[in-house]
Point group: C2
Chain length 229, copies 2
Amino acid sequence: MRIAILGTGVVGQTLAAALAAKKHDVMIGTRDPAATLARPAHARSNTSYKQWQDANPSVRLGTFAEAARFGEALINATSGSGALPALENAGAEAMGDKILLDASNPLDFSRGFPPFLSVSNTDSLGEQIQRTYPRLRVVKTLNTVTAAVMADPALVGGGDHTLFMAGNDAEAKASAKRWLGEWFGWRDVLDLGDITAARGTEGYLPIWLRMWGAVGSPVFNVKVVRGEQ
Amino acid sequence: MRIAILGTGVVGQTLAAALAAKKHDVMIGTRDPAATLARPAHARSNTSYKQWQDANPSVRLGTFAEAARFGEALINATSGSGALPALENAGAEAMGDKILLDASNPLDFSRGFPPFLSVSNTDSLGEQIQRTYPRLRVVKTLNTVTAAVMADPALVGGGDHTLFMAGNDAEAKASAKRWLGEWFGWRDVLDLGDITAARGTEGYLPIWLRMWGAVGSPVFNVKVVRGEQ
């Protein structure tokens, strides 16, 4: 399957590598491919995009618009502040009515760590994206776990935990659920309703960051445990 | 143990009945006990406070101040909008430096269901309470599950799921953790840090409400599942 990933950071790289390992045709989209390839190593990962690209030669790199045109499915793996600019750069025409798995979170690090939410409570980034691109079928998902767990839920408790999903299009959510299973091995994908439920999953980030601190690692997740009926 | 519960609603009644069943001395605090006893049945529960009180004769009813003076431990079981007024009514003097388990959530139902948060992101009701009563030792907890699960975690998955806790006083949190185990049977109480982590646990309510919709019952919880170390 042809899959486009918007964003060249850790999330984009992790998902791209996992999808390429499953023999999917993957293109990563960025604003300026030449600039991305020239960028020095990131302080945290100590690896430049170019080094990662050389280690993952089957993954293509293109502009946001090229990636959006290429993908049968789109994944938004940008930062929160980068999401709307990246999609504007890709263009409504190129994205059409494709399904976009939106893994971004509207985190504002301007006041340090922990970050605040730049949109919350009465609106969400997922809704902003859906409003801006009404034809695009936005499925908010993957944004409640760290990149490594997105791509390999088996890292945590044998994969027995829950991924949330929200979106307006039932068919798109059914496809997303199937893809999340086939691509990464997600078994428990919980549909929280329409895209306004992104307020819930984005608003979960502050408690997620505190759980990370308490657990001592971002490699964890929550499992929804039901009462006896 | 003498335990005071502020608030006469479903949360207060549920916790009081569970604690009384364990032979604790429980007093429920309210603004005006006579008015509480005269109040007609609530539309949802179809039971008046008086009827509940008659069925639970060992639970005493007093003013907020009487309850605050009575309790060796205090539990805030008011609604979000009722919390600060109830504590003001109880009075700083009566509460002193006691431990308050704050189970309230700053939900704003003025625009219908689902509610919004009346404080979020950069502040929380837990912090507002702690700032207003600096001597009080506030432990934000119990607010992420429905009343029945607060009082009986075994209703869900045999009790194998997680309760969050936040507060500035390490000794108070140690006591709270022990009480939550002894009183209700909580085995997995996760300390998320200082009281600012209440932004996280209160900000979890929107996703919790969506999970309720998806699960079809409020009798559920999440379990934090850790990755292999």
